[in-house]
């Protein structure tokens, strides 16, 4: 163990072209734009942001399931994006991913037993005779009844399927796992089970997580630090408690405020106090979701929706860069106040 | 729905609708190739003179005047024609000797590329004596000079085509909108659908009996055409298969009319050369004994009866019934299956491996025959003969080819047996085009050579009197039959279906419409369509 981070991402960018055939004009979408961060060994970094902000894309870029346009990813000192095939295979033993859509991430024509077995055969991690026992052990570890090995994915519940996804990721004994919204498709009661399982596994196997979610409350349970993504960019990174205690970026503030609290009294208080819930007063100036290409390239991407009282012309002309405003705290806002006292959550 | 039909005003009424499987290619006589096109042309255009009903090509008295009202033989190398002064083109211009000379030039021009060109080249020149007199000169004296002078050319209007460059004549719009001097005027051609002619009331010879003639394309589907004939939507069907002929016997409306005399014969032609290597003889058919054995073994009479019906005629040599030598005392091979079998055994062909096919020195008696798929008749014969051979232990595989491929294979000698049909030409001179050394590269696809035959044919062609010619042709045919370069199959008279209301109906063997101007519909039997005018 040294001080070097397990994963270092530097100025990673990805644009998609969509539409347009041989002759048509294609649109480019900047899904991930110059994103940099690092994850230490054993750390769990939460990544939040609304739909379409580029979270999934970022996760896949790190595992090189997508080809980046620019930037680097270093895993344990190895350059992931330029690794040759052999190195990449070795890397994929140590970096794994669990997907959001548990139904879509399992091959419908494969029993879940073989889904979990497959990675071990690919990497020749066990002898044929041992495979079955290994699968059973893994099933036990993620809380699946081993009698289910011969079932097909559609014969399982959502929670069970997600456990299969986790078991498959763990089968190669990775160090680092990208969890791409692993619970957002699950019912609350089941979601809690899976979150607990993930926490347990992290402890038992000393795993490092990149935990992607759109639900801040969920992230809070599992993340040591949280990165907030907006429109392809990181807008804020902070240690979890501090982020929740004192969000600095106006988007983070909006996000936190928008989360419904299952407590009628608090909920009522909050809405009566007129806290910024999105842009609650008056009509929307713009569609609520970010729309690519709908604003000048050098504006702050959050400008149209920004409720910050200090927002001004500068925000329109100059893209705020991620800057450090405290220990382990970075924010991309011209007017984020580094000296703001930590507030208690609303 | 209100119709607006002009009634036919006089006695000369009647409409004949002729069903045709395909449509004419072009109506420019030197280039027209199909039977359909030729049947139209023969009504719109006219020759100097025409053959008589018996199609005799050597007897001058049997020729009938057309544009030429008379002709005289000046010497053994020159024939002089006097044109009928009242002959007019359909646009009113008179037909002159210039037109005849022009026609000759067009037919012999290689830029026009007429199929009749080789025959026309037999004529040394055509001289205009005066506007109504024209002389044909020949390089040598022979029997069929008159035939060659009149039969191959339909006279063309010089005043309309004289200025057109020869190379463009074929594709000139004239070919789809012809103006002739024949008994019928061209009215219209609806592509893929119909061609319509109307009687020229000013025709200089006997006025045609029918007012209108319409060729109607019924597609290649024979049963559809038959349906239309019997349901009365057409009056004439150019060919009736035997099933349909039978049906006419009980029909009140349709009768079968034979093409008399028939100009066709069909034959299975053996290849004398190895199709794989034409420099070598054919491994099977170079053997005269084998050919003869196979020829006698085929029960042609049974096959002909099955395919052509009860009045089918077995071909007895390279001769069609229309030829004036038909039926002469030439030798023929008999049918004798037992003899065929015996001869095969004597030749050493035995089924030594028990596969049902005879073999000799390790070679099986197996070959293929190419048949054009367009001919239902030949396809049927092929299948029947195939079965007959099979019972002898001879394997004949049938290869049906589309017509062009079929011809191409024939021309390049890539076949064992070729199922050919020869016809249209009523002159025995055609024998020289198929069965002589000179015809190799021409229509002698099987490369059959017998110097004796060549000699006999040459002397026949040069003969100056009919008896000598007949004798020489008989010798030639006997020699050919004896060599069995082919198995002659059928020269059955084809029949057309014609509506019974037409009177005075006959069909000449070489052309459906040669006698059509004589057809009439009696007033009492006219149908509504007979009363329409144009």
């Amino acid at each position: 163990m040294n001080g070097q981070p397990l994963l270092a991402v530097d100025r990673l960018s990805k644009t998609f072209r969509s539409g347009g055939g041989l002759f048509g004009r294609a649109r480019t979408i900047r899904a991930v734009h110059e994103v940099s961060f690092a994850i230490a060994r054993g750390e769990s970094l939460g990544l939040v942001g609304e739909s379409g902000s580029g979270k999934t894309t970022l996760g896949r870029l790190i595992l090189r399931l997508l080809t980046a346009n620019s930037g680097t990813v270093h895993f344990d000192g190895t350059d992931v994006l330029t690794a040759d095939r052999r190195t990449l295979r070795a890397l994929r033993r140590r970096m794994q991913i669990v997907f959001q859509d548990s139904a879509g991430s399992l091959n419908p024509r494969m029993t879940i037993g073989s889904a979990v077995r497959e990675p071990m055969t690919v990497h020749r991690l066990a002898r044929r005779s041992e495979l079955d026992t290994r699968v059973r052990t893994l099933f036990g570890e993620v809380g699946l009844d081993p009698i289910l090995v011969d079932r097909y994915p559609h014969e399982l519940s959502g929670g069970q399927r997600q456990r299969v996804g986790i078991a498959r990721a763990l089968s190669v004994e990775p160090k680092f796992v990208v969890l791409d919204e692993p619970v957002s498709a699950l019912d609350v009661s089941v979601q809690a089970q899976v979150l607990n399982l993930l926490a347990d596994l992290r402890e038992r196997r000393s795993l490092t997580y990149l935990f992607i979610a759109h639900d801040l409350a969920v992230v809070r349970h599992l993340a040591d630090r949280v990165a907030v993504m907006y429109f392809g960019k990181l807008v804020e990174i902070a240690p979890t408690p501090r982020l929740f205690a004192a969000p600095t970026h106006p988007y983070t503030t909006t996000l936190l405020a928008a989360i419904p609290v299952p407590d009628p009294r608090r909920a009522r208080q909050r809405s009566m106090a007129g806290e910024p819930v999105g842009r609650s007063a008056g009509p929307d100036p713009a569609p609520a979701e970010p729309q690519p290409g709908s604003q000048p390239a050098d504006a702050c991407p959050f400008y149209p929706r920004c409720p910050h009282p200090a927002k001004d012309e500068r925000c329109r002309r100059e893209v705020p860069l991620l800057r450090e405003i405290g220990v382990g705290r970075l924010v991309a806002c011209h007017y984020a106040d580094p000296s703001a006292p930590d507030r208690p959550p609303a | 729905v209100a119709e607006r039909i002009a009634p036919c005003p006089d006695d000369w009424c009647g409409t004949a609708v002729i069903a045709t499987p395909a449509e004419a290619d072009v109506l420019f006589p030197p280039s027209t190739q199909g039977d359909i096109g030729r049947s139209i042309i023969d009504l719109v255009f006219t020759r100097l003179a025409d053959l008589g009903p018996d199609l005799n090509t050597v007897d001058p008295t049997s020729f009938e005047p057309r544009l030429a009202s008379s002709w005289t033989r000046e010497d053994s190398l020159t024939i002089v024609f006097s044109l009928n002064p009242s002959a007019r083109w359909h646009d009113g211009a008179p037909v002159t000797a210039e037109d005849v000379a022009f026609t000759y030039e067009v037919y012999r021009d290689s830029l026009v590329g007429s199929p009749a060109r080789p025959r026309v080249l037999q004529i040394a020149g055509v001289d205009v004596r005066d506007p109504h007199t024209v002389a044909f000169r020949f390089p040598r004296a022979y029997l069929e000079q008159l035939f060659d002078a009149v039969y191959h050319m339909w006279i063309l209007p010089k005043h309309l085509l004289g200025a057109v460059p020869r190379g463009e004549l074929v594709s000139h719009p004239f070919g789809r909108n012809p103006i002739g001097a024949g008994p019928y005027r061209f009215v219209r051609w609806r592509a893929g659908e119909s061609v319509e002619l109307v009687a020229d009331s000013a025709y200089f010879l006997a006025r045609p009996g029918l007012r209108r003639v319409i060729w109607r394309s019924t597609g290649g589907d024979m049963s559809a055409a038959i349906t239309q004939l019997f349901s009365g939507s057409v009056d004439v069907l150019t060919y009736l298969p035997p099933e349909a002929v039978q049906r006419t016997e009980t029909s009140d409306e349709i009768r079968a009319i034979a093409y008399q005399p028939s100009t066709f014969y069909s034959y299975l032609l053996f290849n004398f050369r190895d199709p794989a290597d034409p420099t070598r003889p054919h491994p099977l058919f170079a053997d005269r004994a084998l050919r003869r054995a196979l020829a006698v073994a085929v029960d042609r009479a049974a096959a002909v009866r099955a395919v052509d019906g009860a009045d089918g005629i077995v071909a007895d040599g390279p001769v069609s019934p229309a030829m004036w030598i038909y039926g002469a005392e030439y030798e023929r091979l008999p049918y004798d299956a037992a003899r065929g079998r015996r001869e095969l055994t004597q030749l050493g062909w035995r089924d030594s491996d028990g596969d049902g096919v005879l073999d000799r020195y390790g070679r099986r008696l197996s070959f293929s025959i190419i048949v054009p798929e367009t001919s239902a008749q030949r396809r049927r014969f092929a299948q029947i003969i195939q079965e007959q051979f099979k019972s002898l232990g001879v394997e004949m595989r049938i290869t049906e080819l589309d017509f062009n491929t079929f011809l191409q294979r024939a021309e390049t000698g890539r076949f064992d047996v070729f199922y050919g049909s020869y016809g249209g030409d009523p002159s025995p001179a055609s024998i020289s085009e198929v069965w002589t050394r000179d015809a190799i590269g021409g229509f002698n696809f099987g490369s059959y050579v017998n110097p004796d035959v060549d000699h006999a044919v040459r002397t026949a062609l040069d003969a100056r009197d009919i008896e000598t010619a007949r004798g020489r042709w008989t010798d030639a045919v006997s020699l050919i039959n004896g060599d069995a370069p082919a198995i002659w199959i059928s020269c059955t008279v084809p029949k057309a279906g014609v509506h019974r209301r037409f009177e005075n109906v006959s069909i000449r063997g070489d052309n459906l419409t040669a006698t059509l101007p004589l057809w009439r519909v009696p007033t009492a039997r006219r149908l509504p369509r007979d009363r329409y005018d144009n």
Binding site: L65, R92, F99, H123 | S223, A302, A306, Q386, E387, E400
Partner: protein, 278 residues
Amino acid sequence: MSRTLRLVWQDRRARVGLALVVLFALLAAFASVVASHDPTAQLDLVGKQYQPPSLAHPFGTDFYSRDLLSRVLHGARISLSIAVLSVAVSIVLGTAVGLAAGLAGGLVDQVLMRGVDGALAMPRLFLVLVVVALWEDIGVVGLVLILGLTSWFDTSRIVRAEVLSVKSRQFIAAARAVGLGLRGIVGRHLLPNIAGPIIVMATLGIGQMILLEAGLSYLGVGVRPPTPSWGQIIADGQQVLRTAPWVALFPGLAIVVTVLAFSLLGDGVRRALDPRSQ
């Protein structure tokens, strides 16, 4: 897969289709046992031409006095073999091209698909007709190849579309994430998941191929006689439709029933594979 089969079997119409297909396949396979005559034997040219159906010849006889039942039975063998084999050729080719286009993407995809567009712009019958009519004497093997080679275009399009949609599913990403190579992904994950539409296409394709072959025979360019294919027998009987309608009737019915059977089966398979219908 067994689930699919079960679903197919539970579908009444598919069951009828399957039963008929199996029946025809068996008849074709054992044609020589079932048929009482040699299909090319001319029994009695003069005496037995165009006999209407009777006990001795349930489907009657044709021009050559051949037993039509035997011919239709042997025709099943020819027609089915041609259809099945040429569909096999077309499916293999179409799948290969579709996979290549879908997986490679980019220029390869563009070039392949534009080529397919061009080929699809020509009516299929037309294309086959040009090829079959111009080549002399192609024989049954040639016919199978030509039919196969000219009918894979839409298969390749559909396969490509399937590949694109399956490719973007998460389990493919998952397979890549665990380090599976291209071959493994195609073989273990891609193909099994696009097998359904391919099977449907194949089943329906066989029916269409039988129709195409019949159409070619009708135009006089299909299987050459005396080999009896259904289309060929119809083309024969075409000439005598009025006087001996049985010649064309029975092979025609055979075609309709067989194609119908394949359609029923194909539809059944499609329904079984369609998650919405479950």
